[in-house]
Amino acid sequence: MRFVDEFRDAEKAQALAAQIAALCEPGRQYKFMEVCGGHTHTIYKHGLEDYLPESITLVHGPGCPVCVIPMGRVDDAIFIARQPDVILTSFGDMMRVPGSHGAFFDATAQGADIRMVYSPLDSLKIARQNPDRRVVFMAIGFETTAPSSAMTVLRAKAEGLENFSIFCNHVTIIPAIKAILDSPDLRLDGFIGPGHVSTVIGCRPYEFIAGDYGKPLVCAGFEPLDLLQSIYMLMLQLKEGRSEVENQYSRVVPWDGNPKALQVINEVMELRPYFEWRGLGFISHSALRVRESYAAFDAERQFLVPGVRVADPKACQCGEVLKGVLKPWECKVFGTACTPETPIGTCMVSPEGACAAYYNFGRFTRERVKEATRT
């Protein structure tokens, strides 16, 4: 597969790994955070850490849009799904996220009509095919996905559809990164910056991280060689005493982002004054909602959602994992009470969650498997 296979080449990985190792100062530890859940997934899926020296640790960040959805919002979505004639449509990743009384998955077992879609346009299709039903799309994701939701609303408006709306849970990445930067618990040497979010917002929004906080940031692609190269670029910056925003994913990310995408988001949506993030608490201007002018397509206005704030279960330490303070296996309930089968928190149920990635892909110690995987 073009633009994919070339970036998964094992030989080049070894070469990059050697260069990275050569840049490590003896006795120094390095900590980089990969913000994006997609990067966490790649790291574990391809076994990237096998290529990194012991002195480099990757800390998993809060860039998993499923992981940060509070339980109350899941309850609200299920409330909507239970209304008469409603078809709730959602990406697959949301189906198992636990609310107070179960996930979407359990709601379907109890009779709600909740359908998995690959694209918001698929929900539009369902709305067209079912004019007597009210179709709601559970819109989640960072700025990567918000333009698609916005375009879908514009399309619905252009077609004069009256039975379609979105339940908007889009969040924005910069406030999340800022929360990490301002967190006293964490000492990071740099950031592996989001890849696909940056295709929309560009690289400029990260400049304050390098400028005001003095931490280098490299926007990275999602293939394992992209990540290795980004780590190499970060190490080079540290070696050379630089603190800049660099774009490793330049084949896809334009420095100025996608103006059209930003324009459609702005047309249909606006920033909420504040929004609750699971584990991170209330953050101001960190999430999007549908504008008044598109009220007919706003599920929150069309259905009177309870909007109850639900505290995370006491045992849940998702917040600390999301901030990178705890490694997944350091959470008290990891793997015992909280498993992919019986998740307590979102980090374990989202395919991009750090806990899910570690449990499903990384649940072994390097030493022990060296013998087994020796060829």
């Binding site: 633009f3 030989e11 999602f222 190269q229 330049s250 996608n258």
Partner: protein
């Protein structure tokens, strides 16, 4: 959720300028290219596909530059290994 995958535009739709058919390793799907309306996409162009929308046009020059960099690192590594193998410490 961050799932974005490169695909090649194989067909534009005359009646729907906001749609195009893409090919990913022999599998085809119609996607919305409305977010790239200023790019004047053509068959043969590669785009990044995310939940049914094209988010960005892949810059083939940048892709080549990225691969050249990796080749260069690979070559430098191979050269060093070869040099190491050849050198004799007396």
């Amino acid at each position: 959720m961050c799932l974005g995958i490169p695909g090649e535009i194989v067909e534009l739709m005359d009646d729907r300028p906001d749609l195009a058919k893409v090919d990913v390793s022999g599998v085809r799907r119609a996607i919305n290219i409305g977010l790239l309306e200023n790019e004047k996409l053509e068959p043969g162009d590669w785009v990044l596909i995310h939940v049914g929308f094209a988010l960005s046009k892949i810059d083939e020059d940048e892709a080549k530059a990225a691969l050249d960099f990796l080749e260069g690192i690979g070559q430098a590594y191979a050269d060093e290994l070869a040099a190491l193998a050849d050198s004799k410490i007396e």
